[in-house]
Amino acid sequence: MTAVELEEVDKRFGEVHALDGIDLTIADGEFVSLIGPSGCGKSTLLRIIADLEQAGGGTVLVAGKSPQRARVDQEYGIAFQAAGLLEWRTVAENVELPLQVHGMGKAQRRARAAELLELVGLADFAASRPGQLSGGMQQRVAIARALAPSPRLLLMDEPFGALDEMTRERMQAELLRLARETGAAVLFVTHSIPEAAVLSDRVVVMSPRPGRITEVIGGCRPGGAVGDIDDVRESTAFFEAITAVRESLRKAHGS
């Protein structure tokens, strides 16, 4: 089964041709990054998959269903650039939100939230308010919330964009571990070339006006233990992937 299947996806906002003929397939458990300059439609593409926008043309299948069906069935979890936590709820209650919306009993969601907070290393903060947490910790809560219904697809729209570099690298390692442990496929929108290279099985490079996929490049997602990511960051394969993505972006921009 595939997590996402896009065929000839098209989207216009009035005069602006945001997306043009997008073909992309994401396998179950695969980590795919979308990278490109501002206005290339990468966020729009993610939002179409999330059923937050409607495609103008073409076919979109998420977990083999229409995006609307997939959204209702909670086939995906989503994390945005802003953590978007509800500040009047505790950290645990924020993680419970998707389960509460879908009518899971209180005891069950308590247990699931505790499990997820353990997973993202925030078990001690279950009763805290989001305002008491740092930006990186808030983003970890948002990821735990996205993972709460055990989705087979995780959609992430520049989730680490507002974090400092040190926090960002730690979060990347964390995300890879989570993706591996949950077996979820990840579609990851980013501006950062190294981030795309180190996390992904495949890096999808896009160009603007109209938004198109110009090239798909193999990334160097570490396979084994979590410590591997630091080795990858110093490996030749990593620098080759960065160079390939950078050249592809330059080509796309130059044309």
Partner: protein, 270 residues
């Protein structure tokens, strides 16, 4: 993320700012005492007639000798203000919830409520007195209720509309129903706005409750005592009831402020 930093900066321990804040009551109290002294001095020196302005000591003496009556009437007026405040608050919030849930209700209620803010509502007091009779508290409570509805409605509607786009996207992605959206995001997110509406309405409730008494009805509140004392040339006593009205208004204001502080405590935007 800049707001908390600014706030922390402003409250840096040991800085001049925090010292001023901690002793913030000294200056106004000193000023108030000074005003009373000057007032007393001027009244004595210039021999100001009592109907123009009685001396603070004369007013104080009246407060002392009429304290039981003052407390009794203040309780009646305060009680009316409180009942009207609670009723108006509930109606205002309910109307705002309906208006935010349905476009039809919004189009029906919003102009009416906003037009209501332009009506001098205490002018309705005599009409209400005729409608409900002069032996019940209902007319005055009704005036307070109508006065309170407007600010509560306006700020609640504003709060219900102020949903962060990321929260709207989140709830859509979770396939939440409109009722769930209201329960989990809209209403709790609007709480600070709703409480601000209550804070604005609280002193207005006291004013409405007192002024409504000027237009007949039961003669057991502060407002009616002020008019009857003034009519009987007991000017210092009239001022004693005015002073009690001021204290009552301040009590409602401070209670509203406290409620607002509690409701917005521990909130920082993310």
């Amino acid at each position: 993320m800049t707001a908390p930093t600014d706030e922390r900066h402003g409250r840096r321990p040991g800085s001049d700012g925090s010292a001023v804040r901690r002793n913030g009551w000294v200056a106004p109290v000193a000023f108030g005492v000074l005003v009373l002294l000057v007032w007393e001095g001027l009244v004595r020196l210039l021999g100001v007639p009592a109907f123009l302005l009685p001396a603070p000591t004369a007013i104080g003496a009246q407060i002392g000798s009429h304290l039981p009556v003052i407390l009794e009437t203040a309780a009646v007026t305060g009680g009316n203000a409180l009942v009207g405040l609670v009723a108006g608050f509930l109606v205002g919030v309910l109307l705002a919830l309906l208006a935010s849930a349905s476009r039809l209700v919004a189009e029906l209620t919003t102009p009416v409520v906003l037009a209501g803010s332009a009506v001098p509502i205490v002018a309705l007091a005599p009409v209400f007195t005729t409608m409900f009779g002069s032996t019940t508290e209902i007319p005055r409570r009704l005036v307070v209720t109508v006065v309170v509805i407007v600010p509560v409605f306006v700020s609640t509607v504003r709060g219900l509309r102020a949903v962060a786009p990321v929260h709207a996207d989140l709830m859509t992605s979770l396939a939440a129903t409109p009722a769930q959206f209201a329960r989990f995001v809209r209403v709790p997110g609007a709480m600070p706005y709703i409480i601000t509406g209550l804070r604005l309405a609280a002193p207005a409730a006291v004013i409405a409750s007192i002024v409504a008494e000027y237009f007949g009805g039961l003669q057991n509140g502060l407002g009616s005592r002020i008019t009857s004392a003034a009519a009987n040339t007991a000017y210092a006593r009239a001022w004693a009831f005015v002073a009690a009205s001021i204290v009552l208004g301040l009590l409602f204001y401070l209670a509203g402020l406290l409620a607002e502080r509690l409701a917005t405590r521990g909130r920082t935007t993310t």
